[in-house]
């Protein structure tokens, strides 16, 4: 394995408060040095990063890779390659596969597929309950032994408060977070978008903000009761942000994530019955977007995660009621973050990298998210100025379902390294 010296880039590492032009050395798959004018080992590859940003590889705590079950829309390999193209060096796929990732063999299968792909690292999230049926706990110990880093019944909210309590308590043994898609299914019912003025006008059934907030409040109470670590997936409402803020003040062990689309779009994106704006939780109102942005700025929301949800193009080419929820996000997340959040004055570039790399690594106790010596050689180089137009036909993902097609974004990945090896090389800019 050739050592790599990345020279002259603006090295941003939130884990050690570093933001300055420097060289970065990787050897034996690990970070071997960071500083000015590092010596070049024999046979090292020299990468010129002048004018670019060098950062710890991005980490996405919430993706759907659809394998096993829906290999027609994504596989572990295509998802891991899409991740690498988006600057991600690690992703955490949710267990709502078919069959469900609720046993050690299933977790091991995903780990094996990821190793064969040789792109981004894949850290599976296993199911909380067998078959995600919300009844009997899955074998957390064996799941962790096989490589799972968290548990979640994402896609099937945990209805039983008792089961959630037991999951939070039992997960403490293995020190893993319990991630929940917060949704009261009786309030969500057959809703298809945010309940508000737009849903009233369009005549579409609404999902009230309370459907999320009730479960956020419940989960926070149960985390407090058990001392367990609750991770709240894809927060979408201002009420949720407020609940989390208060819980953190009390010292509840909670981490929370928000998607790039909930930070940048409102329910008005559903106008014209655009099925690529149909997601769960739904896009909310401008006041929610503002609160989510404030939450991600002040750390109430720890992490930006994509909820990358591939669907076949003709599944979205349907009546709004019948189209599936969800959009893909791995290849647009960094560009949206730079364009909307950094250029929009919400976050500094270092804060964006923290929310997309350092903070996710910390939340799920993952290696990476840092350029400290001895850590994994998981690094992204991107050009924060490069402008490009989102063209889904050029995605590495198998799917195309994005509301951002045609959008011009700033910030493009130049190169992604995993364990010191190049897993993605962008077009010359």
């Amino acid at each position: 394995m050739k050592p790599v010296v990345i020279r002259g880039g603006r090295v941003i590492d939130p884990s050690q408060g570093h933001d300055a032009v420097a060289d970065l050395l990787m050897a034996d798959g690990r970070i071997a040095g960071l500083g000015q004018g590092l010596g070049v080992p024999d046979g090292a590859e020299i990468v010129d990063a002048r004018g670019k940003v060098v950062a710890p590889g991005l980490i996405d705590l919430h993706v759907h890779l659809r394998e096993p079950g829906r290999e027609d829309v994504e596989t572990v390999a295509t998802g891991a390659r899409a991740a690498a193209a988006g600057g991600f060096t690690a992703v955490c796929p949710m267990p709502n596969t078919d069959p469900v990732t609720d046993n050690q063999a299933a977790v091991g299968f995903i780990v094996k597929q990821a190793q064969a792909a040789g792109a981004a690292r894949v850290y599976p999230i296993a199911a909380i309950s067998l078959g995600q049926k919300g009844q009997q706990l899955a074998e957390f110990g064996e799941l962790v032994g096989a490589g799972a880093v968290a548990v979640s019944d994402d896609g099937h909210p945990v209805v039983s408060s008792h089961l959630m309590r037991m999951a939070l308590a039992y997960a403490r043994t293995f020190d893993i977070p319990v991630a929940d898609h917060c949704e009261d299914p009786t309030l969500k019912a057959n809703g298809v978008m945010h309940e508000g003025l737009v849903s009233t006008r369009l005549g579409l059934r609404g999902i009230p903000a309370a459907a999320e907030e009730i479960m956020v409040a419940r989960n926070l109470l149960l985390a407090e009761l058990t001392g367990g670590h609750i991770h709240l997936c894809h927060m979408s409402t201002r009420g949720s942000v407020e609940l989390i803020r208060r819980a953190k003040e009390k010292g509840v062990r909670v981490t929370a994530e928000v998607t790039p689309h909930h930070l940048t779009l409102t329910d008005e994106a559903c106008e014209g019955y655009n099925t690529n704006a149909k997601m769960n939780p739904p896009l909310r109102e401008a006041a929610d977007v503002a609160a989510l942005r404030a939450g991600v700025k002040d750390g109430t929301i720890d992490v930006i995660a994509t909820d990358h949800a591939p669907h076949h193009y003709d599944a979205k080419e349907r009546e709004f009621d019948d189209a599936p929820f969800g959009i893909i996000g791995l290849e647009t997340a960094l560009g949206l973050g730079i364009t909307e959040l950094v250029r929009g004055g919400v976050l500094t570039l270092a804060e964006l990298i923290d929310r997309m790399s350092t903070a996710p690594a910390r939340a799920f106790h993952l290696p990476g998210g840092s350029l400290k010596r001895g850590g994994p050689g998981d690094v992204v180089i991107f050009d924060p100025e490069a402008r490009w137009r989102v063209d889904p036909d050029r995605f590495y993902s198998k799917s195309r379902n994005t509301p951002f097609a045609g959008r011009e974004l700033a910030g493009r990945v130049v190169r992604t390294f995993v364990a010191g090896l190049t897993v993605f090389r962008g077009e010359v800019t």
């Binding site: 309940e195 508000g196 003025l197 849903s199 009233t200 006008r201 369009l202 005549g203 579409l204 059934r205 609404g206 009230p208 014209g272 019955y273 003709d314 080419e317 349907r318 009546e319 709004f320 009621d321 019948d322």
Partner: protein, 324 residues
């Protein structure tokens, strides 16, 4: 094709201007007379092919459209979802492409999903008329309600109209709200809060919680059909109580400061949202609505086919001219 007054499709009243709505109502006037003739047929749409695509059961609307089409001499085909390829799992986009391939001129569609009419209109070149999409809009019902009110009062502007009942699930309510507001009426809604959509006031309507208050305020009540399945979904305790609290009864109408006009889009649940004595009594214009429905739909089809409003009188020809 001559200048279009409506654009390609009629998907709802929300996207229309007040002038466009008035054009349609004015165009409907001369068409009313066609239905009064012995030979109820004019050659206006001869050679045009219209498909009535109904994914939801409908008697009144489907027959009304069919009469409108036949009285304009169009060739029509009725497709009901049951027994068609739709039931075999064909998607709406495939249905649309197949219709397009048969070179039809217009599609009149009723569909249970909101936005289905726009979905279809975006994908085919033929004109699309929305005959009701989910809980979104039912524009020709809105238009025939407007025409009936205009016949009765001689104007829409300044009228106080209260729409009563299940506003949440009603496409008729939405089309009425847009049409009435655009033509300058004052609009209120009245019903149990469990059946009023969030943020309805923001559309510019007044909300009455009690039917007694609505009766004091209104010139006309448009009483919506209460879907019987709402009870089972937990929106209401019982039909009996609904009638007691919200039913439009003679006793309630007698307390009104003026003679109220009562509309109902049908089919009625007698004894639930409306008492029989009201439905059959002097306040009711329910059958006028049905008659106007044919004229309004003739006007819509004529205008979408490229007809000019001022030519409608000539277009319909002299009585008895048409023959086949």
């Amino acid at each position: 094709m001559t200048e279009r007054f409506l654009g390609k499709d009629l998907l709802g009243l929300e996207p229309l201007t007040a002038d466009q709505i008035r054009f349609i109502l004015d165009t409907a006037e001369p068409f009313k007379e066609v239905s009064e003739r012995t030979i109820k047929k004019v050659p206006t749409l001869r050679g045009k092919t219209i498909v009535n695509l109904f994914f939801e059961a409908s008697t009144r609307t489907r027959i009304s459209f069919e009469f409108a089409e036949k009285r304009l001499s169009a060739d029509t085909v009725n497709v009901a979802a049951a027994g068609s390829s739709v039931e075999k799992g064909e998607t709406l986009v495939d249905t649309a492409r197949n219709l397009e391939a048969m070179r039809i001129d217009m599609v009149v569609m009723r569909h249970p999903s909101s936005g289905a009419a726009q979905f279809l209109a975006d994908r085919i070149r033929s004109n699309v008329v929305n005959a009701g999409d989910g809980t979104h809009e039912h524009p020709t019902q809105g238009l025939l309600d407007l025409l009936t009110l205009r016949d009765k009062f001689g104007r829409i502007e300044g009228l106080k109209v209260c729409i009563c009942g299940d506003i949440l699930h009603s496409r008729v309510a939405r089309s009425n709200i847009w049409g009435l507001l655009k033509l300058g009426a004052e609009v209120a809604v009245c019903g149990p809060a469990s059946l009023l959509p969030l943020g309805i006031e923001a559309l510019g309507v007044t909300v009455f919680r009690r039917i007694e208050d609505a009766v004091q305020w209104a010139d006309a009540l448009n009483v919506l059909r209460l879907q019987l399945e709402r009870m089972h979904a937990g929106f209401l305790p019982s039909l009996r109580e609904y009638n007691r609290v919200f039913g439009v009864t003679v006793e309630r109408l007698e307390k009104a400061p003026r003679d109220l006009v009562v509309l109902h889009p049908g089919p009625m649940n007698r004894g639930v949202e409306i008492d029989s004595r009201v439905a059959d009594g002097p306040h009711s214009v329910i059958l006028d609505q049905v008659t106007n429905g044919v004229a309004v739909r003739m006007a819509v089809l004529y205008l979408l086919a490229g007809g000019r409003p001022e030519m409608a009188e000539a277009a319909k020809g002299r009585a008895g001219e048409a023959s086949e």
